[in-house]
Amino acid sequence: MAPPPGRMMHGPKTKDVKGTIKRLLPYLAKHKFKLLLVFIFIALSSAAGAAGSMFLKPLIDDYIGPLIANYSSELMADLAKAILMMAFIYLVGVVSGFCYNRLMIPVSQGVLKQIRDEMFEHMQTLPIRYFDTHSHGNIMSHYTNDTDTLRQLLTQTIPQLCSSVITVVVLLVSMISTSIWLTLVVLAFTFLMSLITKKTGGLSGKYFIKQQKTLGDTNGFVEEMINGQKVVKVFCHEDEAVKEFDQKNADLFESAANANTVAHMVMPIMMSMGYVQYVAIAIVGSILAINGVSGLTLGSIVAFLQLSQSFNRPINMMSQQISSIVMALAGAERIFELMDEKPEEDNGYITLVNAKYDGDDLVETLERTNIWAWRIPHRDGTVEYKLLRGDVRLENVDFGYTPEKQVLYDVNVYAEPGQKVAFVGATGAGKTTITNLINRFYDIQDGQILYDGIDIKRINKDSLRLSLGIVLQDINLFTGTVMENIRYGRLDATDEECIAAAQLANAHGFITLLENGYDTVLSGDGSGLSQGQRQLIAIARAAVADPPVMILDEATSSIDTRTESIVQSGMDSLMTGRTVFVIAHRLSTVQNSDVIMVLENGHIIERGDHDKLIADKGKYYQLYTGAFELD
């Protein structure tokens, strides 16, 4: 069968076959005992299969022949016994075949589950950089295509290959014991066939690569055009699109027809080679037998012919199996590449705890007190508790996503507890980067970031992030009910707390109008809701988390200004008493900030509150007046 179109997407090249196999073995080792049984059953079933394919000849020679010559009821009973014996062998074959299949199911599915689970668990530990630098489509394909090829390998290819190898060995031994000369003839043909397979394999590989390329080309074009279909219509560009598509489609037809032709030619060639081999053995065998070479009898030629025919099938199959092994190993290698990605490093030892006052002393507690403290273990074994105040300072921070390109230069930001700090500037000025640094999605190259006087590198990352609430421009909701989405902010929040958070964010009103209220199921990233509604849910989610410090990254830019003022009041209540970092390109959002930082090309060029910046008549003033042109 030809590989289906769409497979072989990544070109089946494995860099390190041995290493990949070595990595796979431990997964299988867990099922050692079962696999041993599987192997025994495979051996039994292939031996039974081989025996079954040869039983007719002795039946005729030993029983039927004598019976024709000399009928006796004893012989007839012996014949019946022989057939029953054969039935038994067949039964053993069938049962062991069934057993290995059944045993293999939990093994292969178990291995796949383990690999999938480990892959996902590992992925959760990877730094943001990994997700920013790898396309989501490619990561997804590790879970789909790559695990799928592994499934094929485990459930089909390996058992089949084992069985093929065993069958080939059994048959080879019987062939040699029948006639060494004829065996040589068979081996010569096997060699010839493997040459042909290699040749056509190379040819079809070439054609398939071409098919893959034209397929990718056509599909890519379709994707681009259909996604831009509305633009195509607005510009009446349909005819041009059709013309280009037809060209690509014609190329695809050509290459697909060729690739499939070559792939389907292999079987007929193999079959007819088999017939040629059959005739060659018959003729060579007859000549040998007549000339009395090596004691070959005419009867054994017939037996040999049967053996050689059974021999060809597993040989042909092995070539197919090997190519699917190569594909699966390539898939496995890509999976292991993901698992080898370095997890996010975290050397922080300072953790965030709930605290309460015991007299003047801060003590740790398990209940939610809304008082937070940093738990700082000292080298001498003592533990210090420091009240979380929300004082965040960036001192002389330099940063670049790659060493070649610096994004931030000598940035200094001081946010005192309860202050609202805003970043303003053009796209690419480095506003979002600063927030990426505060929650340590990325680590700074130079300078330091202090949180309540503690270098954030000393703070455990989970604790750091729990102390920061984030609302992003790209709103990500998850499949589930509205309530579940809000609760994502704090998993142990009660329904009442979630509803209170929604009220705070001004989301309660529209949620209760939804078909099932808080139990309305959102799917496909909340696609049934408007942009503004989704943003309100995201704000409620942050509200329920109730973090001491908030980061709002363009949180309201996709909402119109009138709706924004509604959201804004929700946000304002969310912001009171917290240190807040706000990023916005709409100046109206940031005007009431305590400090506004104007960023340009990674430098802070102006800082101060609204009135000061207006009075300075700098960049901010230009932006501001440009926006309103009223004076």
Partner: protein, 575 residues
């Protein structure tokens, strides 16, 4: 295979009809070859007659060669037929989608259309090929084998006849029972992919809320579900093989036993027994092949259905008979316009809209998200048809125009801007494919795009990546405006298409419009009051209704919403 879709075979009908012919001949040869093989054994080898063996051997080779030729032909023709079929289906789909209106596209969603043209067509291609090569071949082989089995020995052949229905029953029983399980497996697979996908998209949310464990637990649950379901489904199908083997082996053993008795009674030769058993194998392996592709073909039914849905979709917007082919001027009139995306009176998202716009005017449109501003302007180039009332351009109902004529004179920059892979020049020429380089530069100057383009290393020949990912949002918007300007339209619509452009640049773009294209009617949808306040007329939309029409000053005096929006942008979020 589906009757309706088979129409799309087109010129590949020949290949499609020839394939079974070659397949049949090939199968026939394959069935006859064992006949020669036994004859070779009985009359050549067993008698030690090398001459006869050679002669029969050569004859066998001739048959083998013929079968090879047939095999190659059937490979060629079946590949051409299936690749051609896929080609025609893809073409039909793509062409059909080009006729689609916005409403049609919305109905399917672009992602789903793409899958239908790509994955679904590939599935159909595969199953079509399988049908041609195996679905026809297997029954044919079974019949001829049975025929030859009867010719060899009728009594033994009856055993096979008895076995076939049993085997068929077992196969159908197992596949039909396993099928729902596999469907469920695939659904859970989708769920698993969905969890991964959402996790990838929301990775920043996951990490900032420190929800690693929660996500892992979510994944484990689905992963566990996939594991259990898959195990169940595979257990189901694991009965397939042994059941078939049992039946086949029983047949062979019965044939051997009865055959032996026939032989000893002198009613059959040993060679005939060989042949008869060889046919048993052929009949039953044919059935096995059939069961394998049976699953595949039923699975492709879904794809066929999905492809048909597109092909059978009627475009909701068609050219009228005797269309008007000239747009007189850029005046626009909305008369009692109502609109619903569902085409019915329910859920109207535009109600009772009456607006009169004179040619050459600049119109601003303001309104909150979901107030149907975009819907309103999309009725002008007939991207959607009004459900009620009528929209007139140049005094003529838009439904009476030749669609292309209408759209050529209405340029629209959509909210969701798209650039296509190619150079800046090829992208701009979407607006006018015959535009000279000077015209391109002029349009770009007007759209304030010339400056950044000339700073690029390759200038106007700079390559744009797919989706325009290598230019910034503001640059993209300006390129899209330039592209629209190149159409030299009578009406220019900007649907919130300067949101990423800074205010100063935006105002110089608008100044350019005023001085260079004064006759063009300009409709500007915007969030910022500053973008529309100098317009001749501002329309305030609220919830699908026109809430107010007038100049900035008039609206400031009379319109509550407008005032609110204005002050919200003035005071910066303060209560």
């Amino acid at each position: 295979m589906d009757k309706q879709l088979l129409r799309y075979l087109g010129k590949f009908k020949k290949d499609t009809f020839l394939t079974p012919v070659f397949v049949f001949v090939e199968a026939l040869l394959e069935v006859m070859i064992p006949f020669f093989m036994t004859s070779l054994i009985d009359n050549g080898i067993e008698k030690g007659d090398v001459g006869h063996t050679t002669r029969l051997g050569l004859l066998l080779l001739v048959f083998a060669l013929a079968s090879l030729v047939m095999g190659i032909f059937s490979a060629r023709y079946s590949s051409r037929a299936s690749a051609g079929y896929a080609h025609n289906l893809r073409q039909a789909l793509f062409h059909k989608v080009q006729e689609f209106s916005f409403a049609n596209i919305d109905k399917f969603s672009t992602a789903s259309i793409v899958t239908r043209i790509t994955t679904d067509v590939s599935n159909i291609q595969m199953s079509f090929m399988m049908t041609l090569r195996i679905a026809l071949r297997s029954p044919f082989m079974m019949l001829t084998s049975l025929f030859f089995a009867f010719r060899t020995n009728a009594k033994l052949a009856w055993i096979y006849v008895a076995a076939i229905p049993v085997l068929a029953f077992v196969l159908i029983y197992i596949t039909t029972h396993a099928h729902p399980f596999f469907r469920k497996v695939f659904q859970t697979y989708d769920k698993l992919n969905n969890v991964v996908q959402e996790n990838l998209h929301g990775i920043r949310v996951v990490k900032s809320f420190v929800r690693k464990d929660h996500e892992i637990e979510k994944f484990h649950n689905v992963s566990e579900e996939v594991y259990t379901l898959f195990k169940k489904a595979e257990k189901m199908t694991s009965y397939n093989m042994p059941a078939m083997q049992l039946i086949i082996y029983t047949c062979i053993l019965l044939a051997a036993w009865f055959g032996s008795r026939l032989i000893t009674a002198g009613n059959m030769t040993t060679g005939e027994l060989y042949t008869s058993i060889a046919y048993a194998n052929m009949i039953l392996s044919g059935l096995m092949m059939l069961s394998m592709i049976f699953v595949m073909i039923t699975m492709s039914q879904t794809s066929i259905q999905r492809v048909k849905e597109i092909l059978n979709e009627e475009s909701t917007i068609r050219n009228p008979e005797n269309p008007v082919t000239e747009v007189k001027d850029g005046s626009i009139t909305f008369e009692n316009v109502g609109f619903s995306y569902y085409g019915t009176d329910e859920k109207l998202c535009l109600k009772d809209v009456n607006i009169d716009i004179k040619s050459g005017q600049t119109i601003g449109i303001i309104g909150g998200t979901g107030s149907s501003k975009s819907t309103l302007v999309q009725l002008i180039p007939r991207l959607y048809d009004a459900t009620k009332g009528s929209v007139k351009v140049g005094g003529v109902d838009v439904r009476d125009y030749d669609i292309e004529t209408l759209r050529e004179s209405v340029a629209m920059v959509l909210q969701k801007n798209e650039l296509f892979s190619g150079t800046i020049k090829t992208n701009l020429r979407w607006g006018n494919k015959n535009a000279t380089d000077e015209e391109l530069i002029e349009a770009c100057k007007l759209a304030c795009a010339d400056e950044f383009i000339s700073q690029m290393p390759d200038g106007y020949d700079t390559r744009i990546e797919r989706g325009g990912t290598n230019v910034s949002g503001g640059q993209k918007q300006r390129l899209c405006i330039a592209r629209a300007l190149l159409k030299k339209p009578k009406i220019l619509i900007l649907d919130d298409s300067t949101s990423a452009v800074d205010v100063a640049t935006e105002s110089s773009i608008r100044a350019g419009f005023r001085s260079y294209i004064p006759e063009t009617t300009k409709l500007i949808i915007a969030q910022r009051i500053s973008s529309v306040q100098d317009a001749d007329m501002i329309i305030v939309m609220d919830n699908g209704l026109v809430n107010g029409i007038g100049t900035h000053d008039e609206l400031m005096a009379s319109n509550e919403i407008y005032k609110e929006v204005y002050y919200s942008q003035q005071k910066g979020g303060k209560e």
